[in-house]
């Protein structure tokens, strides 16, 4: 296990009153990519400075919910490649993406609907997406739960989040 040198702890992140999405992302600029089927515990992820999009997005969701922001975890599935997870922050008008941790613009702007988020993620990966789901993850139970799923091949008017907004 690689010991963290300068990465913050979960407590640091939760206690920072001025934590913004950009500041959060800057902590992970030197992190490496390593695939894990399951989501790593946050302390492990921060200590090892290695992980994947699930680890990053779930941690961001956990931290910013703690700070009172409205966030959504989004999972985008593609053709013949591994699915990708991002954390959408409503008041930022965009999402945190582990692939963008080293870019200057760390927040990727997009529309708020699942379809729009999926289109933007697919555009960045130069791939065609097939379906996108909003999900939750609980560190305590380690359980992931799908809330709603949107399928690309279906008509946008029938998207689950659109219908939910129309019929709250």
């Amino acid at each position: 296990m690689v010991l963290a040198e300068t990465s913050p702890t979960l407590a640091d992140l939760l206690a920072d009153p001025e934590l913004t999405p950009r500041r959060f992302a800057r902590h992970f600029e030197e992190f490496e990519y390593e695939y894990h089927e399951a989501v790593q515990p946050p302390e492990t992820f921060l200590a090892r400075r290695r992980g994947d999009c699930d680890d990053y997005s779930v941690l961001a969701d956990h931290v910013f919910r703690h700070h009172g922001r409205v966030t959504r975890l989004v999972h985008v599935r593609f053709v013949a490649r591994v699915a990708h997870a991002v954390c959408y922050i409503d008041d930022a008008g965009g999402y945190l993406d582990y692939n963008h941790r080293r870019y200057f613009f760390k927040i990727r702007r997009s529309g708020a609907s699942l379809r729009e988020i999926a289109e933007r993620v697919a555009e960045d990966l130069e791939a065609n997406w097939t379906s996108v789901s909003e999900f939750t993850h609980d560190y305590a139970t380690g359980r992931k739960r799908l809330l709603r799923t949107v399928v690309k091949a279906m008509s946008p008017e029938l998207d689950a989040d659109v219908r939910a907004r129309r019929n709250p």
């Binding site: 089927e37 399951a38 599935r77 053709v79 013949a80 065609n128 097939t130 379906s131 789901s133 999900f135 359980r143 992931k144 799908l146 799923t149 949107v150 399928v151 690309k152 091949a153 279906m154 029938l158 689950a160």
Partner: protein, 403 residues
Amino acid sequence: MSAPAAIPEPPADQPGADRTLHWVIGLFALVLVIAGFTAVQAVRNLQRTRVASDWVNHSHAVVNECGALLAELYAAEAALRSLALTGHALDRAAGHQALENIEERGAILLALTEAEADQRARSARIDRLLRQRSEFLHAALATGGDSAQLNRQLAEDLGFLATREIKDELEKLKGLVLARLAERDRESFRQNQTTRATVWTGLGLNLALLGGVAWMIQGELARRRRKAAAMRRANETLANAVATQTAQLRAANERLEDENNEHRWANLALVHQVKYNMAIINAIREPVLVVTKAMNVTRANPATLDRLDRIEEEVVNQPLAALVRLAAQTEGQDPLERTLHQGRDLRLQPALIVGRRGAPQPCVLTLFPLRDGDNVVGGVVILNADESGSATDPDHAPSPPRP
């Protein structure tokens, strides 16, 4: 000067010139319409192709989920059996993870098959079967460390039937999806064929139309070139005719100039001759008058003016009779005029000069006709002094001497 060469008429405009332009514009408009239609068809086909590609990806996603679901189910079954053998917590955790994955993938499969009724029904059945199986697996995993109980549960379990049934349902679902995919592929192929035919036909039509336009333009250009050549020839002929006429005019002008010079010189000679003649007449001591056939004075030499005691303006253009008359009065036509008309001379006739003042003065008049060829055009009157005293004015005859 010879007659000028005939200038050929330029070729008249053919009535089809404007029609050609209308045809060209019409054909270009048609080309645009066909190109637009072809472009629209191509764009629509691109859109259909994108949609078709999405459905292909979607179908493969369903097939992948079916495979992944089955794999997770097998993983969960394997974890349970491994737990029964080893009682290890890792096997329990693996089992729970597999069951969680089954739940997630089941939800995704339901969403992916929502659009097609038969697929939706099939995946709903699969979901029911999976839930049933998952309930058993959850319960089995929750037995804790009692492997004996777990083994009993497994011995009583007909899970392999459930698993086989789920597998069969998944295979059927995959079959439905692949059949639908084949249908869509056929439709897509036909649409591509149609679009290809439309595009190629449009392209061929446009090429043919453009060829027609090029042919028409080429014909029009050839016609204009012929017309330009005819115009050039007409211009050349016109230029030649103008040059010929100019040369003729120049030659005529030169001849006229020569004639004018000759006339001028002749006139000068005449004037000189007249002056010379006048000088001769003026040098004559006797009064000499030149009269017209109508007996009007046209010339008078200085001796005449002296004799008549008049200035030139009082003599020239005056009737001769106002200046001098024959002493013998006659009735009827003036004998001088009659003589002149007859073309005879009248010599040394007594006459009387009508003086300005005082009594008429006697003189002797001689009249010679002036001839131009055979025609009498005037006369010359010479007045000599009356030395014989034969010319007397009866009105002013001197009184006879007194005895």
